[in-house]
């Protein structure tokens, strides 16, 4: 492999590496840091330019006074903290152990192939989380059970619609409506119905992008941070639409 081919191969790989991290919920400064660390392990100088849907990797060949740029599309996917940890570790491993590009590629594929949590396990944990939330807000045992069932139903619908590649906003509206509609059964029981309603949709709150957005802004990636927060605002609006649908149906029970 000559020098030019090597630079192209590195730029392509770094683009894939950075794009995967951006897509799976890593905050911007970490993506840039990891990518630069990885390029440092190859003794190559690199600059990363990031937007919401695309990123550009520019690899500098100082001897030939040449820059090779790769424009990569960011594929958005569910948040995968396991990849956040393993890809960050990969960059350190490459730097400390002077791994070759082929070795790094192999380890990258291994990291991505690592088994994820089973969807049923996530569904049960998320439902238990909302049940606990209900307790923390002062809900009684009946409200907690209703919230568990409502969350399980809403979350299952979200998992199915995500699998069917439905529009993300529609998925949020439908899941919020389903969860809150089931939670609205608490209006007909002697229980803390308002708390049950309030907590039933909280599993949908985009907490990770919200915090990532704030971190990006604090760390100076203002454009990315604001973009993330606008996306979050849209998702919260979708939750409001779903919840609003239920509240309109049951509004006579509210007063």
């Amino acid at each position: 492999m000559d020098k030019k081919e090597r630079f192209t191969a590195v730029a392509k790989f770094l683009g894939k590496y950075a794009s995967h991290q951006m897509g799976c919920g890593v905050h911007t400064s970490r993506v840039v840091r990891n990518t630069k660390r990885l390029s440092e392990s190859f003794d190559i100088d690199v600059a990363v330019s990031l937007f919401q849907r695309t990123l550009t990797i520019s690899v500098y060949d100082h001897e030939a006074n040449r820059v090779h740029s790769e424009l990569v599309e960011i594929q958005h996917q569910p948040i995968l903290f396991i990849h956040n940890a393993s890809l960050s570790a990969l960059s350190w491993e490459a730097l400390d152990n002077h791994l070759t590009l082929d070795e790094v590629k192999k380890k990258y594929d291994e990291a991505l192939a690592a088994p994820l949590l089973h969807p049923l396990f996530i569904l049960i944990l998320a439902s238990l989380a909302n049940l606990s939330f209900c307790k923390l807000f002062g809900g009684d045992i009946v409200a907690m059970i209703i919230v568990f069932v409502a969350t399980a139903s809403g979350f299952y619908l979200k998992q199915c619609m995500t699998r069917w590649h439905c529009n993300n906003h529609l998925t949020f509206i439908a899941s919020a409506f389903t969860a809150s509609f089931i939670a609205a059964s608490s209006f007909f029981l002697d229980t803390t119905s308002e708390i049950a309603m309030a907590t039933s949709v909280l599993f949908l709150i985009p907490g990770v992008p919200l915090v990532n957005g704030v971190i990006d802004i604090i760390e100076g990636y203002t454009l990315m941070g604001v973009t993330r927060l606008i996306n979050c605002a849209l998702m919260i609006l979708c939750i409001a639409v779903g919840l609003g649908g239920t509240l309109m149906i049951f509004q006579n029970s509210l007063f």
């Binding site: 995968l80 903290f81 400390d96 996530i122 944990l125 807000f137 949709v201 915090v211 509240l247």
Partner: protein, 160 residues
């Protein structure tokens, strides 16, 4: 009371964390962070009469600082541990009241007094929700700025 609070916060933290697919080894540390953070906020609000925003900032800072050693132990970036731990402290009830007030504002748009009342409620809840989320994130991120070298080397294994 605080133990029960911490216990349920730990379950909530793990549950919301699971949605983000963390490494399995991270769950224990997420639970610890969520429990101590929420328990501190409850203590500050209940015993020392702190407001929710200040108490959330203190809890965020505690979570942020504790996430540094725990991240080192678990070889996970601090964000992988502290973001799920912050989620149980997102003020869901205020967010709900915000949406609820917005709907009632729209429905009563022709009645000036009632619509003004719901508009005021909407903004009050909106301000609390936004400021709490912002302060939680700032508090948890603050230690990363204090100890950048430690925070950025969490996933680094022993150099060969």
């Amino acid at each position: 009371m605080l133990l029960i609070d911490g216990f349920f916060a730990a379950i909530a933290g793990c549950g919301f964390g699971a949605i983000s697919n963390p490494p399995r080894r991270a769950f224990l540390y997420i639970a610890i962070l969520a429990a101590i953070g929420h328990a501190l906020r409850t203590l500050l609000m209940g015993t020392f009469a702190f407001d929710i925003a200040t108490a959330s900032l203190c809890a965020g800072i505690l979570i942020g600082f504790t996430s540094l050693p725990l991240g080192r132990i678990s070889y996970c970036p601090a964000t992988v541990l502290y973001i799920p731990a912050l989620l149980p402290m997102i003020p869901g009830k205020f967010a709900y009241n915000c949406i609820f007030s917005m709907i009632l504002f729209v429905q009563n748009i022709n009645d000036e007094i009632v619509s003004a009342y719901y508009m005021e409620k909407f903004f009050a809840n909106f301000m609390v929700t936004c400021s709490v989320i912002f302060l939680l994130a700032v508090g948890a991120t603050f230690p990363v700025f204090v100890f950048p070298n430690k925070a950025y080397r969490m996933t680094r294994h022993q150099k060969k």
